[in-house]
Subunit: 298 residues, 2 copies
């Protein structure tokens, strides 16, 4: 199956204990598509400014990512600046929406037959609009954040009611449901009609909860986390990319997808931007997958 | 094999979002021995004051715990008062060492042949003194805390060099080793000569690291955590109790021990004090063990 991803394309300026980089390629769409490109044909939708380098688009294309849904408009590309003094906490120093502020995604005709869809973390109204432009997706997932839970709850709930899988940080899940216990909160979220809730827990891994599934996954043991930016997006990309490759979504497949998501996130955080992901191979992914299986196998 | 446990016996006053209790039975020795009593013969060493109720000792005995190492001296029993506004953070409101301040453990002759030993979280000098009184233990584990890492590092390091297994919270492991990455820190700790480091991560479970072992374990999904006090001690008790029952310490056994420790901790936190553990059965433990295995099985 193919996978369509919508979200942000950004130029990031990031400082971590291991270094500082300026105006590097980032954004949820980029991280997710780079990960997913290891598994399946990927299509991306987004917007960039005239300042966006063609080389970035070429890089994405070279990994089999169809970039014809990237609109290039007058103005500057979305910029985010952040710092991690503690690698578990992103501190936003500056956000400039630039061309992202006027983003109103219109899907290329050729994207309407997308089979798996990742609605990245953007305004819920835009997520709905994208969903309306797809003929009959087989699996739809969405990501979101506290900003939308607080500021656009009704629209966000409408999105969640229409998707199959919700990717969400544990704190945000608690905020969404108003429930402090993570197991109860996950079950509550299923009441929106979701098939699965994937709870992201940073350095503690991830958990997936479905009607008949509760599966917990530790992270891959990375000894030097250089930059955690995009970890969640890489996870979602690997997760959905694997499902697209597999073409089935049984609980067994979902568990495997959790492993592949975890592996992609682990590759991503070992360097800035997509420096590792852009050269990642399936062999490398399978090797880490086997290591991860050892870590959870009895 | 038998298991000897040394640590605190306390009367706790605790407030959590689910209630408040005063002067209830607590202390690391109590939690650990109650858990371990599901698996093997247990002996405990500690000190209490004249105010300590015989009924508590009877309760321990009724679970097959040999209490002849509990010294009853003039004065009051150790008291701890704490509160949890956030169930993940214990806030100490009051500590009265009382008779615990003059504790100088002398093992009953009949305890000198102990096979597995848990040196609970007490002054490292006392841990060493206890160790010297045991003939030839087959497996020794210790627990500790930030207070000793900061205040008695040399003695603590001597303890760690002499034991096989270290139970430690992740923040304390970072403090002990001076390394922020948990995987690197675990490996560094092994350099003391430990066979295994068991890293306790609260609601995120636990991880065990050995020369040829890295195994991660999520918690059992408890939907109502009433009181987390004693979770780590219950874990250690279940972990070592199972190893005593098994009589072997292969990596495979260690993984099973991680599950049993996790199950015992999960029972413990569902009510105050040892209200659940005191009535726990092996059947109940096996049922939760099977559930846990499902949560990590691919």
């Amino acid at each position: 199956m193919n996978l369509m991803i919508i979200g942000s394309v950004a130029m990031d300026t990031i400082r971590t204990p291991f270094g500082e980089v300026e105006d590097i390629l980032g954004g949820s769409t980029v991280y997710a598509s780079m990960s997913a490109s290891n598994f399946c044909p990927v299509r991306i939708v987004g917007v960039v400014g005239k300042d966006f380098e063609q080389a970035h688009l070429d890089l994405l294309s070279s990994r089999g990512v169809d970039t014809c849904g990237i609109e290039i408009v007058e103005g500057e590309t979305f910029r985010w600046a952040g710092a991690y003094d503690d690698l578990n906490v992103a501190q936003t120093l500056d956000t400039r929406l630039n061309v992202f502020a006027g983003f109103d995604p219109v899907l290329p005709e050729s994207f309407r037959d997308s089979e798996i869809v990742l609605l990245g973390n953007i305004q819920p109204g835009l997520q709905l609009s994208v969903l309306d432009q797809i003929d009959s997706p087989k699996l739809v997932a969405c990501d979101t954040m506290n900003f939308w839970i607080e500021g656009a709850r009704e629209q966000l709930e409408e999105v969640i009611r229409r998707v199959d899988i919700l990717f969400i940080n544990e704190d945000e899940l608690k905020m969404l449901t108003g429930i402090g216990n993570i197991y109860k909160a996950s079950k509550k979220a299923l009441e929106y009609g979701l098939k699965y809730v994937v709870v992201k827990r940073g350095e503690y891994g991830a958990m997936v909860v479905g009607e008949d599934l509760l599966f917990s996954m530790p992270v891959y043991p990375v000894e030097k986390v250089v930059d955690p930016t995009g970890a969640g997006d890489s996870f979602a990309g690997g997760f959905l990319g694997y499902l697209a490759e597999k073409g089935e979504f049984t609980p067994r497949d979902i568990k495997q997808a959790m492993i592949y998501g975890t592996v992609c996130a682990s590759l991503n955080i070992e360097d800035f931007s997509i420096r590792i992901l852009q050269g990642s191979t399936r062999d490398e992914i399978e090797a880490r997958r086997m290591e991860l299986i050892k870590i959870i196998a009895l």
